[in-house]
Symmetry: C2
Subunit: 218 residues, 2 copies
């Protein structure tokens, strides 16, 4: 194993480690926000940013002027993490309290997307990751906007997932304690859409929004 | 300004930058999960972990065997980020789509908490950050558990916040388009508590759980 292969191995609680592509894609498709880590002038920096998945790669985008985008464009090493918290796990002892979650950690190097047609596809993928088919309802980017935006891609070849689910696991003796134990599920929900005040009130909520409102979470 | 002072300045969209302690504490108190970035063998690593805030510092904890804990204990530079997504911002153009969010980025070096009484306080602070007063309902850590756990602290002296809120801001000409625009709020909610199957069903849901169920989000 080279250095990177070692790195993606789940070290703590290795039985929670998952490496199959299907699991990694499924977890990534539950969210649209990742935390990107990179080294800037010898210091680690962690920045929240949007992503979109297409096949076995992620697209990122940002303003040409973004420090993160400028750094990542150089092809420096990147660590990218997505975490979905699914619940609190309340045990009988403080020590055995835990969280239910699914997370993915990706190691790699960003690659600059230069080809205009791939760049446009990437921007639609990023849009679809947040809200499917919104892209078809709005004005597409014009030349000036395309020029102001940088798109990068990162392969998912070096990714691993970590999952914890289920109830608490207590020390044998603690099961006799008269302490409530169990799980408290956590999920994300959408509130009712708030129309822009500057919009003609005759314009109806579009199908892209209706669709995510029907789903329970992204 | 030294290197770190430069680093905490919000670079992109500087008008979204906030630096006052009150704002930083308020955002940190909305959550309990952060993403910690550090450099391991020349590579950036980003790991999700729990935190607890006490005054102007954050406590982290983990198993003595955790790679992250072992690395951070050495006092290496750390970047720690907390992000709360508050909504989707749907504009009339693809380009002006955005997110409402509040985030905090902390730069610093972790400090090992050696003193047993501070260590115990830190563990209660971490517990309270997730679910207030749960600590008083459960068995406290025994000596073996205390020994197996490492507690670290990071000062909030080098922290900055970034906030976006409100509706979309479109290009002047686009306001004439017949496209729905507005915000879709996103929040976290707790589901109904799931009691541990191995628990005496006579044991009632405790006040700590009832309290978070009444709140709309953490």
């Amino acid at each position: 194993m080279n250095k990177i292969d070692q790195k993606i191995k789940v070290k703590r609680a290795p039985k929670r480690g998952q490496y199959d592509t299907e699991t990694i894609h499924r977890i990534l498709d539950r969210d649209f926000l990742c935390h990107v880590g990179f080294i800037h002038e010898d210091y680690p920096v962690v920045i929240p940013t949007l992503y979109g998945r297409l096949n076995n790669q992620l697209y990122l985008h940002g303003s040409n002027a973004s420090r993160m985008i400028k750094d990542l464009k150089k092809g420096i090493p990147v660590s990218l993490t997505v975490t979905k918290v699914d619940g609190l796990v309340l045990a009988r002892s403080a020590f055995h309290h835990s969280m239910n979650y699914e997370s993915v950690v990706v190691f790699g190097n960003a690659e600059f997307v230069d080809d205009p047609s791939e760049k446009l596809i990437a921007l639609k993928v990023l849009s679809d990751q947040i809200i499917q088919n919104r892209w078809e309802e709005v004005r597409e980017p014009n030349e000036k906007e395309m020029k102001a935006t940088t798109v990068l891609k990162i392969s998912l070849d070096k990714a691993s997932a970590k999952i914890r689910k289920g109830g608490p696991v207590d020390d044998k003796d603690d099961y006799a304690l008269s302490v409530w134990a169990g799980e408290i599920p956590i999920s994300q929900k959408y509130g009712l859409p708030i129309p822009d005040e500057l919009m003609d009130s005759e314009i109806k909520v579009p199908s892209s929004v209706n669709k995510i409102m029907k789903g329970l979470e992204k």
